[in-house]
């Protein structure tokens, strides 16, 4: 798909067009403003000393030699941090879990490799790093636990013994109907435990901060690489015991986030404390070694999944009990809850139960990561469903056909209380079956091709929860943020609109999409709208860019603010032109009469009248500026099905994905170009997690084995298989303009599609997969297992 050139675009029809992005010109020229691109006069640099052990008591700490190094200007230890700050507040607590006081530096105990212990500010980063080498820290290594299946063992060390008696943070069960009774009636019950790998979100821009303190004014200026400037401001105020009014948080360009940059991190708080103490700006830019050990990781969990069906493969009940290992702390955004929301997937399952356990271990905290619970549970359910189909001798396509929710079943309430909005779940699956010629493939014997490889096709159906169902829903779960978005539109003297949003620019193209909607609603040309994003001093209070929710909520705010802006513009023009506002329209920088297009007034004129208050209707307030807050009444669900076509060598286990087909509905696409970009990007992240990404901890030492870019295998261009995309477009009936979120959906189906394709190719061998990632070695081992049992064909 290529971009529609702006000249063929009429401002009034900007929704649905693949307009070129507003963000691109600066980013292409190297003119982006990421945190490390800003610098303040006489700024200092900060570096952090980190615990090398997974669990240790800090017996003794001596900073004198480090402090004496020329160029070192300030050092903080846990003791000072405890005096100067409050623990970092959690934005989204795990419901029912105790609060763990999370200080920016380790207090007496360090709880994971990479836990921050001392921070040092110096003339340069190099000097600060030299000073770290001079610290004398006497660690007493303590017993640790990093295996998530062992954290609740009686002999496992308890991470927070002052507050908890075990490493279990919380458990929560949701159910509907009577799943146990239904399982007792089932013709077939299948069960397995599925392991989901710990992965790194891996934004190319690491974390970073530039904190400046104006001592006379007592104001903190805080540039951060964050998805949520307004929420970071709130957390900073709480931790630093400052009024929110004294803090300005700015996120200019953010070099990728994917859920990880959701909230205040310890190092950011440290930079602020140093800056306030010194009266000098302090910068901290994370290096990649720190990133792997001290940002937040994603996903790690295991799912015990049970599915019961009748003899025709109709699902009677699903029971899913799972454990999320969130590492050593509840990070600012805490544990994923979406597995519980979407565990029944797109299927008609009135009788179902889900139970979530959240546990701690001596590893880097888990935070939000794209998909956030949905890829995990999708892997378990979709793989087990295929096994059920094989046991019943039904095709994986047919078992999905029989169980998908029908349009007339929607809206559908899941056991967690979430409500799926309208849709047609069968259509993407049928499109997929057609595109892959699934039925013909299924009937063919699984014989090796000339190259020795056997071809298999695997399916994976899914839903994605996008956005939040109201602030009331969030309040019940104790979240410290709302479900709304907000926007301010301000006319300027050049005849354009300044659009202010608290949503920062992380790559999704929000500047573009916001301007498109604003242009469509107001009639002001797309090119005349300038988006000012991510600055708390400019933008109305909002929530932030996460949970595939930005556009769902922002579209409503843009519509309301845009309508009000347009109304006032027309009222002023109506007075000048002596035509009633209903007979006026806005296009091409003019307000013109609908009937007599020659009768016009320029927007420059109208806006200047409004700004000066000169020449506007009696009684009309001067100024042309509108702000709106919008909370979507419900979450919206995207849906679809995906297929992987693999060719696997049954001797070596080596395999390639020859096609990946993804059919999906995200409602009305504001900009198809952005939608395709979001989907492809997320799919490749999902494929990476399925095929090669995994953060491994050494069981003996408790240390991260592969914590560097050299040992962590994100997909490169040549690793990415051919991806084909198809869409249906059913407008959501619960959102403005019918949009559904799209940011995370691609992460959800890949793992199950690939696992199912491998099983399909090797169906005569009877192999099964229940752990990620799926590597040639995994396949080879599975084949060896079967061979050792003497069951090969």
């Amino acid at each position: 798909m290529t971009v529609v050139h702006k000249t063929v675009m009429e401002s009034g029809t900007a929704i649905g067009q693949a307009l070129a992005r507003k963000e691109d010109d600066r980013l292409l020229r190297g003119g982006g403003l990421y945190v490390d691109d800003a610098c303040a006069l006489r700024q200092f640099a900060m570096a952090v000393a980190r615990c090398p052990f997974p669990h240790a008591r800090i017996r003794h700490l001596d900073v004198r030699a480090a402090a004496a190094l020329p160029g070192v200007v300030h050092i903080l230890t846990g003791t000072e941090v405890q005096c100067l700050t409050n623990p970092i507040t959690v934005l989204r607590p795990v419901p029912g879990a105790p609060m763990l006081p999370y200080y920016a530096l380790a207090q007496e105990y360090a709880l994971h490799e990479g836990h921050a212990v001392v921070s040092i500010v110096a003339q340069s980063r190099a000097v600060a790093e030299d000073a770290i080498e001079l610290l004398e820290i006497d660690y007493e290594p303590l017993p640790h636990v990093t295996d998530m299946t062992r954290v609740l063992d009686p002999d496992a060390p308890v991470l927070h013994p002052q507050i908890m008696t075990s490493n279990l943070m919380a458990s929560k069960t949701d159910y509907s109907g009577n799943p146990r009774a239904k399982l007792a009636e089932a013709a077939l019950v299948d069960y397995d435990r599925f392991f989901v790998n710990r992965v790194a979100p891996l934004s190319m821009e690491p974390r970073g901060v530039l904190a400046s303190w104006r001592s006379g004014a007592r104001e903190l200026d805080f540039r951060s690489s964050t998805q949520v400037p307004h929420l970071v401001r709130k957390q900073l105020a709480e931790a630093l015991r400052l009024d929110e009014g004294a803090i300005r948080v700015v996120a200019s360009d953010v070099g990728g986030a994917y859920g990880m940059k959701l909230g205040l991190f310890p190092e950011e708080l440290l930079a602020a404390v140093h800056a306030m103490h010194l009266g000098h700006p302090v910068k901290w830019i994370e290096d990649r070694m720190e990133y792997f050990r001290a940002s937040t990781h994603g996903r790690e969990s295991f799912h015990d999944m049970t599915i019961g069906t009748d003899d025709q493969g109709r699902i009677l009940a699903i029971i899913n009990e799972y454990t999320n290992d969130i590492g050593a702390w509840n990070s600012p955004f805490g544990s994923s809850q979406l597995s519980s929301v979407t565990f029944t997937g797109p299927y008609h399952v009135p009788d179902a139960q889900v139970c979530r356990h959240v546990v701690l271990s001596n590893k880097t905290p888990i935070g939000a990561y794209r998909g956030y619970g949905q890829p995990e549970v999708n892997f378990a359910r979709e793989v087990l469903l295929d096994r059920v189909a094989r046991k019943l001798d039904i095709s994986p396509l047919d078992i999905r056909r029989r169980n998908l929710l029908r349009p007339e079943d929607l809206p559908w309430r899941t056991p967690s209380g979430a409500v799926y909005d309208n849709g047609d779940y069968l259509r993407p699956l049928e499109m997929l079956a057609g595109a892959t010629d699934y039925e013909a493939h299924f009937d063919r014997p699984r014989r090796p091709r000339a190259d020795g490889r056997i071809v298999g096709i695997g399916l994976s159906s899914f839903v994605e929860r996008t956005g939040y169902a109201s602030a009331r829903f969030l309040a019940r779960r104790g979240s410290h943020f709302g479900a709304h978005e907000s926007v301010t539109l301000r006319a300027n003297r050049s005849g354009g609109i300044d659009l202010y949003t608290g949503v920062s620019t992380c790559g999704q193209g929000n500047e573009t999409a916001f301007a498109q909607i604003c242009a469509a609603v107001t009639g002001v040309h797309y090119d005349a709208i300038r988006v000012h994003a991510g600055d708390t001093a400019q933008s109305p209070l909002n929530t932030g860019a996460f949970a595939s929710r930005t556009l769902i909520a922002a579209a409503g705010a843009l519509k309301q603010a845009g309508d009000a802006f347009r109304d006032k513009t027309l009222r002023i023009a109506a007075m000048v032109l002596q035509i009633s506002p209903e007979d006026l329209s806005i296009a091409k920088g003019l307000v013109h009469s609908v009937r007599e297009p020659d009768r016009t007034i320029t927007l420059v004129d109208v806006f200047n009248r409004a700004i000066t208050g000169q020449g506007i209707p009696e009684g009309l307030e001067p100024g042309l500026e509108t702000t709106a807050h919008f909370e979507p009444p419900e979450a919206s669900f995207s849906f679809g099905s995906a297929a992987a076509v693999v060719a696997v060598d049954p001797e070596t286990g080596d395999f390639d994905i020859e096609r990946f087909v993804f059919v999906h509905d995200c409602g009305v696409a504001v900009n198809p170009l952005l939608v395709e970009g979001q989907v492809r990007g997320a799919l490749v992240q999902g494929l990476g997690a399925a095929l090669s990404e995994e953060l491994r901890y050494d069981r003996e030492t408790g240390q991260l084995i592969n914590g560097s870019m050299m040992d962590y295998f994100a997909l490169t261009c040549s690793d990415v298989p051919k991806i084909e995309l198809m869409h249906t477009e059913i407008p959501s009936d619960v959102t403005t303009f019918g949009v559904r979120g799209v940011g995370e959906v691609g992460t959800i189906p890949p793992a199950a599609a690939v696992a199912n394709a491998l099983c399909d190719a090797l169906r005569d061998y009877g192999v099964a997969f229940s752990a990620l990632p799926l590597t040639p070695e995994t396949v080879w081992r599975a084949l060896q297992n079967v061979r050792n049992k003497g069951e090969t064909p």
């Binding site: 490390d36 190319m204 040549s718 990415v720």
Partner: protein, 170 residues
């Protein structure tokens, strides 16, 4: 060791401009270009030679500038992403192709891809070869498809008068 000790004077050409400057011997080229020359378009993602964010052109060859010391730039002809576009209004054809094909999202990797791909000018490469060659730069946002399409579209335009069109104005 403090920063002020061990400095060396180097003389090199950056984006067509001759520069003589004193650099700390332990500073790598990317840090130097970013923080001393002020060209922040070159990014850092690993400082380990893997991610490719820091790719620049040194004597017309793509180089990962985090693996190079600033002092090694002495006498070299260096180009960064800031040199590509001819002026404020127009983009380099490769940049324009990136824009048309939505080859960037957060944009953090973009300078690395542009500086690497630019070195392909005049070469005949199919899609698989392009994919292989750009695998030294990572992108976590786009899934690479837009990047591939952009380079595929731009490349043939460099075959006839590659040196003229691509190097114009530099």
């Amino acid at each position: 060791m403090s920063d002020s000790s061990n400095q060396i004077e180097i003389c090199f050409e950056i984006n067509g401009r001759q520069v003589t400057q004193t650099v700390p011997v332990r500073m790598h080229a990317a840090d130097f270009l970013r923080h001393q020359i002020g060209l922040t378009g070159t990014h850092l993602g690993c400082e380990q030679g893997i991610c490719g964010m820091c790719t620049i052109s040194v004597d017309d060859r793509p180089v990962k500038s985090c693996l190079m010391l600033a002092v090694q730039l002495d006498g070299a002809k260096v180009r960064t992403v800031e040199s590509l576009a001819p002026d404020e209004t127009e983009l380099h054809p490769l940049q324009a192709a990136f824009k048309r094909h939505h080859a960037l999202q957060c944009g953090f990797c973009t300078p690395g891809f542009l500086m690497l791909a630019r070195s392909f000018a005049g070469r005949r490469m199919n899609r698989a070869e392009i994919a292989e060659e750009i695998s030294g730069v990572l992108c976590r946002c786009t899934g690479y498809e837009g990047i591939l399409r952009a380079i595929e579209e731009w490349l043939p335009g460099t075959w006839t008068d590659a040196s003229l069109s691509d190097e114009a104005g530099q």
